[in-house]
């Protein structure tokens, strides 16, 4: 589905992504892990067209999508969430979701003026869909609340909810789990599995919760210092010394001594 | 008959010429006060000035102000407006529709000569078309044939410089560069740089004395780009001399003025009233207001029609000549059925569609003071 070839992205002299090559297979749920600052988010941003690569190429289904603007990629079915929630803060939660689907006929001025009937119909459909998503995310009581007033975790949920508004081919999730209650996260995990199995979405997700990764992802790619450090099943990764050293660590030193 | 008649005084009390207008308004009101104090005016009718702000540049605000004067305060005539742009706006939007006569002391743009006015528009200042000739004539007499020109970038400056340049070139002169300047801007180095490069025997400055014009001269003197200047009417002010002192010695210029007793008399009158009458267009303002009052008297009623119909008659010959400070006398003459020829502070002689014929004072600056050469 997605192939990244020796991708570089430098900030001044700093190589945030330093020649990473990787592949995300169609229909997979690929996990992307790595220490803080490994370049994961930067990689996402380059793939999603937010940042220009310094060099290297990105392909989607064989097509060269390097440097395509984000909105064009969206229409190709590539969706992403943001690590630091990017809600539309002065709009209600419902509106945050309803604005997502592309090619709404009400998005042209002509229709906004003269096609009110058709718009009303479409809107009714969107509204239903948005309410379903809000329900699923357990924030339906907040549908008319401004998104700017949500709690940190709720914003992350809304962020995820947007990807559920349309039929995507591939979804990039950047730490949706951070700050989300673990019980809810399990439900979300179930949903991701369902979307993957029933609707054939491909997922690529950055996450630091190894349990969550372990439950959903195969394969898992480990990045460090802008390069791919290892790739394989969760078990292989967990056993990889380099990964343990750079990323997983060996647990608490002080734990035993606590009360 | 009412015992009060209101006269609108529309000048730019805020905006780019805000430092000139208080003196102009004072002078106009001085004339009205004189009329009232004489006790000779129309069976005890008092003339009350009502000020309004033309802003000099915002036609809409000026129109609104004028409209308010006319419809709310019920003014029967307007002394004003000051700048040519807003004057045109007030004329066509307020004065014409309501039949209110306007006497502008200072709107000198040649374009106003041909503006549709239905006989309602007068000005006590001459059109700049005439001043252009005068200035060119001065240079011809002095035998100067290459000059650089700078003018304030509005209808007044542009109109005046057009008039000057065409006359000057017709006399065989060469203008090396004619560069406009915007008023009240922070810096004039660019203009001076270009003008200095172009060169010329002197710099002709057609601007405002307390604004861009002064800025240009100062900049030219400071950099040594020019040391002699020829000044248009807007540049004549004591403040300019006070500021620049003897640096201006040798420069010269022209200003609407008339020889003779009227001007001196005005200085006396204004000094006595504690008003600075030596500023630009104060004389014209006094005359404008005086003419309105006299025209009313001649018409026998304090109405717009009276002003419109009689203004030319009182301003021009035949009749007894009237100077500033003699308004009471004039009123008496008119009351007695006599005829007057208002001379006023500026030797008023209204020609054509009701604008001052214009006589100009050609002066030079010697030892930091204006010195009259002759009148033309």
């Amino acid at each position: 589905m997605i192939r990244v070839e020796t991708l570089h992205r430098h900030f001044g002299g700093f190589r945030a992504v330093d020649g990473a090559s990787l592949e995300i297979a169609t229909g997979s749920i690929t996990g992307l892990v790595g220490p803080n600052g490994a370049g994961k988010t930067t990689l996402f941003n380059v793939i999603a067209g937010v940042l220009e690569p310094t060099s290297g190429k990105v392909f989607m289904d064989g097509e060269d999508i390097t440097g395509m603007p984000p909105h064009a990629l969206f229409h190709k079915g590539l969706l992403r969430t943001f690590q630091i929630a990017h809600e539309f803060s002065s709009m209600t939660c419902r509106e945050n979701l309803m604005m997502v689907p592309g090619a709404q006929s009400g998005e042209t001025l002509w229709n906004a003026w003269f096609g009110r009937g058709r718009i009303a119909q479409e809107e009714a459909g969107l509204l239903k869909k948005a309410d379903e998503v809000l329900d699923f995310l357990t924030i339906s009581h907040l549908k008319d609340e401004k998104a700017g007033n949500l709690s940190g975790g709720q914003k992350k949920l809304l962020e995820l909810g947007r990807t559920m508004m349309v039929d995507a081919k591939i979804v990039f999730l950047d730490e949706v789990g951070a700050g989300v209650n673990r019980t809810l996260l399990n439900t979300i995990g179930d949903a991701i599995l369902r979307l993957n199995q029933e609707r054939g979405y491909t997922f690529c997700m950055i996450e630091h919760d190894m349990e969550f990764i372990g439950r959903l992802c195969d394969p898992v790619i480990v990045m460090a210092e802008g390069k791919v450090l290892a790739e394989g099943s969760i078990a292989q990764i967990k056993a990889n010394d380099a990964v343990i050293e750079a990323y997983l660590g060996t647990g608490l030193k002080n734990k035993e001594t606590v009360g | 008959q009412t015992s009060e008649a209101k006269i609108g005084v529309i000048l730019g009390f805020t905006g780019p010429i805000e430092s000139l207008t208080p003196m102009m308004a004072d002078s106009a009101e001085l004339a009205l006060k004189e009329v009232n104090d004489s006790g000779n005016f129309l069976d005890g009718v008092t003339l009350t000035p009502v000020r309004a702000d033309s802003t000099c540049v915002d036609s809409a605000a000026a129109t609104a102000a004028a409209e308010r004067l006319v419809s709310t305060d019920g003014v029967v005539a307007i002394m004003g407006a000051d700048c040519s742009g807003v004057t045109g706006a007030v004329l066509s939007n307020v004065a014409l529709p309501n039949g209110i006569p306007m006497v502008s002391p200072s709107a000198t743009s040649p374009g106003l000569t041909t503006a549709e006015d239905n006989g309602l528009f007068f000005r006590t200042s001459p059109s700049d078309a005439r001043q252009g000739e005068v200035l060119a004539g001065i240079l011809a007499d002095k035998g100067i044939s290459t000059v650089a020109v700078t003018y304030t970038n509005n209808d007044y400056g542009k109109g005046l410089s057009d008039a000057f340049i065409s006359n000057f070139e017709a006399n065989g002169g060469t203008v090396t560069l004619s560069a406009p300047h915007e008023d009240n801007k922070a810096d004039y180095s660019a203009e001076i740089g270009a003008l200095a490069s172009a060169g010329g025997d002197l710099l002709v400055v057609l601007g405002y004395s307390d604004s861009g014009g002064k800025g240009m001269i100062r900049s030219a003197l400071d950099t040594g780009a020019f040391d002699t200047f020829m000044l248009g009417d807007g540049m004549y002010s004591d403040a300019l001399l006070a500021d620049l002192g003897t640096d201006l010695d040798g420069s010269f210029g022209s200003v609407p003025w008339s020889e003779g007793p009227g001007t001196e008399k005005f200085k006396e009158v204004s000094d006595a009233a504690g008003i600075n009458g030596e500023s630009t267009y104060t004389r014209e303002s006094y005359d404008a207001a005086a003419l309105i009052a006299l025209a009313m008297m001649a018409g026998g009623e304090a109405t717009s029609e009276a002003v419109k119909d009689n203004l030319l008659a009182v301003a021009n010959a035949p009749g007894e000549q009237i100077l500033p400070g003699e308004l009471g006398k004039a009123l008496q003459i008119l009351k007695d059925g006599g005829d007057i020829d208002y001379v006023g502070a500026t030797n008023v002689e209204l020609i054509g569609p009701g604008e001052a014929a214009g006589s100009y004072r050609f002066y030079t600056i010697t030892d930091g003071a204006f010195e009259t050469v002759d009148f033309r």
């Binding site: 604005m99 009400g106 906004a112 003026w113 | 036609s59 706006a89 529709p97 970038n153 542009k158 008039a163």
Partner: protein, 433 residues
């Protein structure tokens, strides 16, 4: 108080202010304020479209208003045939040359390699500039020589002046499109200063290109869509019907003409307001608000932010252009020197913000209210001063000084009122929601 009630009350207050002006001052004043209020409301609507809907910080309103004014001259004034035969051909040749050079430069920029293209384009532009000047300057000299005191320009097309309104909109839209292509990538205050600069450039062109619309020499006596008051006063039929309504001819004619303008302006305002409101309350409006809130996220959600920005920039500017044409029609003259940022850009912004940005009705309200104040603070300031000085001894220095300074009260009063209004509703009188 619900939003709707609040809206009614506030519009009611404006109506009362206008009616009050009618009763206390005069109906002519009231109508004049109303008319400019309508024009201001249209301008505010345009700015609100850009800022309130899409978060575009356009401080170049003045430029677009002036373009509308220019359109009025170009459409309605009679052509100056002498000028046309003197230099028009050459002039248009020069303009065509300019367009060709710019097109070639853009093409080079797009086609050439990074390293060389800067130099090539620069060279092309400089050479093109001199070629252009060589053709252009003589043409201008020829045109401007034709009776400079009264014409000295090409004149217009001699068409009905109302046509200038849509044309003004189109002209503004066209220029906005070009500006938008170049400058819309800039953020907030940087875009602001860029648009401010472009407005200054537009004014500079109108002021200095005399062949176009006489520059600072002004075009006065523009044709009007309404009859002249004088003609009405001389029209026996009109005088009679006025008399039958109990009006004298002068008053009736002035009111009639002003009402006529008022109705025309109101039609335009209502039309634009309806369109703006429909647009805001649609998925299009939602998309715009999303873009305003967070561009990055909107892009990721498939919205073509650049294109939408351009679209709304062009639309908003076009509305300002229409308003500008309407205003120049009302003034009956084009006086480029009067275009000052304070009056035509910042005052409009005050209208939008005080009214409540993002809310169309708020902008309209702000337009009426602020314009009313702009005109009426002068007498208000005077009244305040008279009140303050009432207790002082006649002839005291302070009293004299205060009375002399009364004109400065105008802006001071404006400032105080502005601060008071914003104090009681810091998000505008009719906030977005």
């Amino acid at each position: 108080m619900s939003d709707r009630v609040r809206g009614f009350v506030l519009f009611g207050i404006v109506a009362v202010l206008l009616l009050g002006t009618g009763f206390v001052q005069s109906w002519n004043s009231a109508l004049l304020i109303l008319n400019m209020g309508l024009v201001s409301a249209v301008m505010a609507l345009g700015v609100n479209l850009q800022w309130g809907f899409a978060g575009l910080f356009n401080v170049g309103v003045m430029g677009f208003v002036a373009l509308g004014g220019l359109a009025t001259v170009l459409v309605s004034m009679p052509p100056v045939s002498a000028a046309w035969s003197a230099g028009a051909g050459r002039l248009f040749l020069a303009l065509a040359l300019a367009v060709a050079v710019i097109a070639a430069a853009v093409l080079c920029w797009k086609r050439l390699r990074k390293g060389v293209r800067g130099w090539v384009v620069a060279l092309l532009l400089i050479a093109g500039f001199f070629a252009f000047r060589a053709v252009f300057d003589p043409a201008v000299a020829l045109i401007e020589a034709i009776d400079p005191a009264t014409t000295g320009y090409l004149g217009g097309l001699g068409l009905p002046v109302v046509l200038a309104w849509p044309v003004g909109g189109l002209l503004a839209a066209g220029v906005a499109w070009m500006i938008g292509k170049v400058a819309l990538g800039l953020r907030s205050d940087y875009l602001a200063i860029a648009t401010l600069g472009i407005a200054e450039i537009i004014i500079a062109v109108i002021k200095n290109e005399d062949w176009l619309a006489r520059g600072v020499k002004n075009v006065i006596g523009l044709p009007r869509p309404m009859p002249y008051e004088i003609d009405l006063q001389n029209d026996a039929g009109f005088v009679q019907s006025a008399a039958s309504l109990g009006f004298d001819a002068t008053t009736a004619s002035t009111l009639y003409v002003k009402l006529g303008y008022g109705v025309m302006f109101a039609v335009v305002l209502v039309l634009l307001l309806v369109l703006a409101q429909l647009a805001l309350k649609s998925p299009w409006g939602r998309m715009m608000r999303a873009i305003r809130d967070n561009e990055t996220a909107a892009r990721a959600m498939g919205k073509d932010v650049t294109r939408r920005h351009l679209q709304i920039f062009v639309l908003g500017s076009a509305i300002c252009g229409i308003a500008g044409a309407m205003m120049t029609t009302l003034d009956g003259q084009l006086t480029p020197g009067t275009y000052q940022p304070l009056r035509y850009t910042f005052l409009v912004w005050v209208m939008v913000i005080v009214g409540g940005s993002g809310n169309n009705f708020g902008s309209v309200l702000g337009g009426f209210l602020i314009w009313f104040l702009w005109v009426q603070v002068e007498p208000m300031g005077q009244a305040a001063m008279t009140l303050i000085t009432a207790g002082m001894a006649d002839g005291s220095w302070l009293k004299g000084h205060l009375l002399d300074s009364v004109q400065h009260m105008r802006l001071l009063t404006m400032g105080v009122i502005l601060l008071l209004v914003l104090r009681f509703s810091p998000r505008g009188l009719l906030p977005e929601r």
